[in-house]
């Protein structure tokens, strides 16, 4: 098995071994799904076709990134805090493989929970509205490709920052990230604008944005080196 998958599997197992984190993430996705379902209906009454799932688009991204953020704390920061990252760095894998494995290890559970939350949201909205039709194609593409791409890029970036910076800087970054996400979630509807509709071209823009973020993060990892990580271990 390739090294990155060994690391990813370890991170997923670690998540499953951490009941506190597991329960928090599951409850978070459950609440998001349950609360947002009726909200989707309330915000879409009387809107034109293509605008029904506007809230779902932004909320699924925010949910994914927030769960990714929750898990990345254990995957990157905790390992650095405990110093065990040093043993990994002294092992046979190159740094980028370790980083990639960790991103995958966060992406998989974060995406599954986001998908669960989104399906719940759609299901509740369907039950309330009495319409049981499948969401439109762009929404399915959004959930299948754009959401995991966004989670991966956000987690990759967070992981990069958490590995690169010292503990104090990370605490500050954490506060900024958490408040930023809360702000984005609270005003997601306003941010996308009232006239925003989910179309293939809109999804193309989202996907392009996600890919650019992934490329930026990949480029940034070239700046990351073992010395910077080791020297910021507390």
């Amino acid at each position: 098995m390739k090294g990155r998958y060994v690391i990813a599997r370890k991170e997923i197992r670690l998540f499953l071994h951490n009941p506190q984190l597991l329960i928090s993430a599951v409850i978070f996705s459950l609440i998001f799904g349950l609360v947002s379902g009726p909200a989707v209906i309330m915000t879409t009454s009387g809107v034109s076709p293509g605008q029904e799932y506007t809230l779902l688009v932004s909320l699924s991204l925010m949910t994914g990134v927030l769960i990714g953020y929750l898990l990345s704390g254990q995957t990157f920061l905790r390992e650095k805090q405990e110093g065990t990252i040093e043993t990994l760095l002294a092992g046979p894998l190159p740094l980028r493989e370790i980083w990639l494995g960790k991103v995958l290890g966060v992406l998989v559970p974060a995406y599954i929970l986001t998908l669960f939350s989104s399906v719940l949201m759609i299901g509740i909205a369907s039950v309330i509205s009495g319409e049981t039709s499948l969401p439109p194609g762009p929404i399915i593409v959004h959930l299948a490709i754009v959401v995991p791409a966004f989670i991966a890029s956000a987690v990759g970036l967070l992981g990069f920052v958490q590995l690169l910076l010292g503990m104090r800087e990370n605490q500050i970054i954490n506060i900024v990230v958490i408040f930023g996400l809360i702000f984005l979630i609270s005003f997601s509807r306003e941010l996308v604008g009232p006239g925003f509709a989910i179309t293939w071209s809109a999804e193309g823009v989202f996907l392009g944005l996600a890919l650019v973020m992934i490329l930026i993060t990949r480029a940034l990892t070239r700046v990351l080196d073992k010395e910077k990580i080791v020297r910021t271990i507390p």
Partner: protein
């Protein structure tokens, strides 16, 4: 590079935030050796270890492990093992899961067999499914050692392996190290400030102080020192002491002689045995009450080295005196 040299450090220097941490550090370790890297806290030991492992780059000089710099040679890193003070274990995993993870990481053949073998080797088989977070410090260290040797490394780097352990735990770690060096012929690089530990398990040491190597040799040669074997002689009276000094100064084996008080003197001999001196003094009817070969302990060597580096006088070295015999004429 000599084929037997597996660690070759040449003139490495390193600065952190403008201050010099390592200054022209050079040493080498040959295959199968247990090498002790000694020094007080802040001497630069961990920085040297990190440079060796490729975690930090030196400003100048080079540190080769198995002929390569571990900074760039990923495959060579599979041939070394490392145990840092934190053991590198996942606390939420069981002992077996931890070893399994590292077995996968190092792509070991028959990982399950290897994991079981190491659990038996470290005496942790019965706790194999226990969470590491519930283990004692000693058990974690044992498991950490098992993790570090899982892939049968050619060189094992140990960073303060007995730190935080009780005497029983320390002995267990020392026995494991000696076992690895003996039965498995592993080269061991031991980073420590525990002098007792180093003197028990190491054959060769380097003493690092303020980023510079101050002493570097086998422990036996460091004990002997540059001046040779030191002999302490107790004479019957002041006159006998004066007579002994005169006789010793005529002997070619005898080096510097120092009178400690009316009855005691020390002499450095070129050989390891004090017997020629005893024989000569007795033959010339000097009344010798006692004669002892002074064996400097590693603690003496270390303290002398550190004090000399700091510009102090060397210690008198009271520990580790072995009797050679004595008696009157």
């Amino acid at each position: 590079m000599d084929n037997d040299v597996v660690i070759d450090v040449r003139q490495i220097t390193k600065h952190f935030n403008g201050s010099r941490v390592l200054d022209g550090v050079s040493f080498s370790v040959t295959r199968g050796e247990v090498f002790g890297f000694l020094g007080p806290n802040g001497a630069g030991k961990t920085t040297t270890l990190r440079i060796l492992l490729g975690l930090i780059r030196p400003d100048s000089g080079e540190a080769l492990v198995l002929g390569d710099s571990l900074d760039t040679a990923d495959p060579v890193r599979s041939r070394v093992g490392v145990l840092f003070e934190n053991n590198g274990l996942v606390e939420r995993f069981s002992a077996r899961e931890n070893l399994q993870f590292y077995a996968d990481l190092y792509n070991i053949r028959n990982p399950k067999e290897k994991v079981e073998e190491l659990l038996v080797f470290t005496g942790l088989l019965e706790r194999g499914d226990g969470l590491v977070g519930t283990f004692s410090t000693g058990m974690k260290r044992k498991l950490g050692l098992a993790r570090a040797i899982l892939h049968d490394p050619e060189i094992l780097f140990l960073d303060e392996p007995s730190s935080g352990l009780d005497p029983e735990g320390q002995r267990m770690v020392h026995d494991l190290i000696l076992g690895l060096s003996g039965k498995r012929s592993m080269t061991i690089f031991l980073n420590s400030h525990n002098l007792d530990e180093v003197s028990r398990v190491c054959s060769k040491v380097a003493i690092l102080h303020q980023g510079t190597i101050r002493a570097y040799d086998t422990i036996d040669r460091l004990r002997t020192g540059d001046k040779g074997t030191e002999i302490v002689i107790t004479l019957h009276d002041e006159g006998e002491a004066t007579k002994a000094i005169r006789i010793l100064s005529e002997m070619k084996e005898a080096g510097p002689i120092r009178r400690l008080d009316d009855l005691h003197l020390t002499v450095f001999l070129s050989g390891d045995s004090g017997f020629p001196v005893l024989r000569e003094l007795v033959a010339r009817e000097v009344v010798v009450e006692e004669m002892m070969k002074k064996r400097r302990s590693l603690e003496d060597i270390y303290l002398d080295t550190v004090r000399q580096a700091e510009g102090d006088k060397p210690s008198e070295g009271t520990a580790g005196v072995t009797g050679l015999g004595g008696g009157g004429s």
